[in-house]
Amino acid sequence: MFLTSDPIDLTAFLGDARPSDGAVCVFVGVVRNESEGRESVAMEYQAYGAMAESEMARIAKALGEKWPQARVRIRHRVGRLEIGEASVAIVATAPHRDEAFAACRAAIDRIKKTVPIWKKEIRADGTSEWVDPTARDAGHGARNK
């Protein structure tokens, strides 16, 4: 399972390097207090659960084929997250650091691109808005507002 509604336990996540691993590379995405200049107080994550699971499994498998010595673990949180909470955690282990860094970086980049997960920023005044990473690309579909 890649998705969880519980807080991500980073300690447990870090503990499973293999004896042959000499490098453990970790990326943790956390909720921050602003988005495009506007203050936010929380982030609400929603997923197309079954498809998100299979997409992340596909990504993990593809990374294993590209970097055969690396092993990549992924957890993504759903539900309401407060500022500073981890929304995504990736741990890539490998015998050497080059593969661990590369696999970790590729994992987060691919997750952001294809995994069906959405987030809504909640503002202090009670308003909220779905985050649209494509909003600045001219001509890419219609805007929500």
Partner: protein
């Protein structure tokens, strides 16, 4: 035939439901369902292009054929991480 359509995020807010069963002529493709939804929901009619679609939890193109019982979703821009 009938397909099960799922809505997420801004699309869910726009149509006011999480999912529904929709009837389509046999032989319909993903693009036909998008046209059908655009007639029902003004929110979708404003789109210049069809958003990414998934059939049975895998990305599918506009030309992908639909079958009875398929689970279909059009996906707003993803924003994981």
């Amino acid at each position: 035939m009938h397909v099960r359509v799922l809505y997420f995020a801004s699309f869910r807010d726009a149509v006011g439901r999480e999912e529904e069963r929709r009837q389509l002529p046999d032989g319909s493709r993903v693009a036909d369902l998008w046209v059908d939804l655009s007639r029902s929901f003004p929110h979708f009619a404003r789109f210049l292009a069809m958003p990414p679609a998934a059939v049975n939890r895998e990305y599918a193109g506009a030309d992908a054929a639909l079958r009875e019982g398929d689970e279909v979703a059009f996906l707003p821009p993803v924003a994981g991480g």
